[in-house]
């Protein structure tokens, strides 16, 4: 199965470590992740007003471009997944919007493709058993809080990602890497998203991190740059990394752990997962 990779704006900027570790890991796993030739920012949020069709143009372009290349889209960022998948479903089910977008973009795409998240591809194509077999450096002893947030799971009828109240895919992924997933109550709660920029209020994010820490986690894993930012800024010392960073580490690759606001390296060293620095 051929995929076209849609990195999204943040993965070429603030979240380069997310991008790099994903590409490297994919190569190691034999997955073909060719970047979409031309793409623009997906818009970051799915437009909820029924008449805001203009905000669908950019994600529609990306979907049409992948279709033109004869491939499905794959993305890492929860935000991009949310926007692309919901746009795709809307195009497939709403003839009127489909026609408007077709004529506006001058493309002929009707929603026949799928948008995948890398985790789903790992689960389906590589399988977690297959992944476990390829792990060269198991993350034994590492207690990880799998943080889903909103964008992967909701709205469930659009996202069809996992059980919206009791998801398990990140846990299964972490187990495949040899890590120990920590169950914590707020793993599906919202971190406050972009509201963090409004008044700096991060009560939602702080509650999430507290909940993860109370579960005894060494670090939190996410799939979303916004979540990552909000949790890191929430004022605790709990490190937050992208799931691909742990993937890379377990596959024996560089996890690109530098540059985090809360440095994850000390805890990884403590667990003997990174070499001690002299």
């Amino acid at each position: 199965m051929a995929y076209r990779y849609f990195p999204g704006c943040t993965l070429h900027e603030q979240a380069r470590n997310f991008d790099v570790t994903a590409r490297e890991s994919a190569r190691r796993l034999g997955l073909e992740l060719a970047e979409l030739d031309t793409w623009q920012c997906c818009g970051a949020v799915f437009p909820l007003a029924t008449d805001a069709i203009i905000n669908l143009v950019s994600p529609y372009r990306a979907l049409a471009a992948a279709d033109g290349a004869g491939a499905d889209l794959v993305t890492l960022c929860s935000g991009c997944l949310n926007v692309l998948r919901r746009t795709n479903r809307l195009v497939a089910t709403n003839r009127e919007i489909q026609e408007k977008l077709k004529s506006f973009v001058e493309a002929d795409y009707s929603g026949g493709r799928q948008v995948h998240h890398l985790l789903e591809i790992l689960k389906r194509d590589v399988t977690f058993e297959g992944l476990a077999a390829k792990v060269s450096k198991g993350l034994a002893g590492l207690r990880v809080a799998p943080y889903y947030g909103c964008l992967l799971l909701r709205p469930p009828e659009d996202m069809c990602f996992d059980d919206p109240e009791a998801p398990t895919i990140l846990e299964d992924f972490l187990r495949a890497l040899g890590a120990e997933p920590v169950d914590f109550a707020l793993k599906t709660e919202c971190c406050g998203a972009y509201l963090a920029l409004r008044d700096g209020g991060r009560s939602a994010a702080a509650a999430v991190v507290r909940s993860a820490a109370a579960g005894g986690a060494d670090l939190v894993v996410t799939s979303c740059p916004s979540c990552s930012y909000n949790l890191e800024q929430a004022g605790t010392a709990l490190p937050v990394v992208y799931f691909t960073q742990l993937l890379a580490l377990a596959l024996g690759l560089d996890g690109a752990f530098g540059g985090h606001a809360v440095d994850p390296r000390p805890v990884l060293r403590k667990k003997s997962l990174l070499p001690e620095v002299n």
């Binding site: 970051a44 909820l48 469930p156 971190c191 972009y194 409004r198 509650a207 916004s226």
Partner: protein, 129 residues
């Protein structure tokens, strides 16, 4: 509050339902949205009361609520709503109505260093028309 047929069935309510694609009458005020809202503490008027105001025809009161700017569109409420109402869409419609009226948007200072592009773009999308 004095209500009558005309205050209940306004063009603005119709517009709001058109933009949101949601019917306010569906809500039976169980409050599950408010109970699960991650930003409930900051909202002042809770989400279920915003929709109650709309059921009562008090759109301007709803538009004045701080809550509509604090909804992060996380869809937690929608995922749990027993009546299948997506309140995030109603919140968005209220914002959109204000933004289209040219109400000055909340000032966005220079984004803090380290804020991801995703967060900044989201903020701009939600706070500008």
């Amino acid at each position: 509050m004095r209500i009558n047929r005309d205050t209940l069935r306004t063009d603005l309510i119709a517009k709001l339902q058109e933009i949101s694609g949601e019917t306010v009458a569906l809500c039976y005020q169980c409050g599950k949205c408010s109970a699960g809202c991650p930003l409930e503490r900051e909202m002042g008027i809770l989400p279920h009361r915003v929709i109650r105001l709309l059921q009562l025809g008090q759109v301007e009161e709803a538009l004045a609520a701080n809550a509509i700017w604090l909804c992060a569109a996380c869809h937690t409420c929608a995922a749990r709503c027993p009546r299948g109402v997506d309140l995030s869409r109603t919140m968005e419609a209220l914002r959109v109505i204000l933004l289209r009226r040219g109400v000055p948007r909340a000032a966005l200072g220079p984004p803090p260093p380290g804020a991801p592009q995703q967060t900044i773009v989201s903020f701009l999308r939600k706070y500008s028309s």
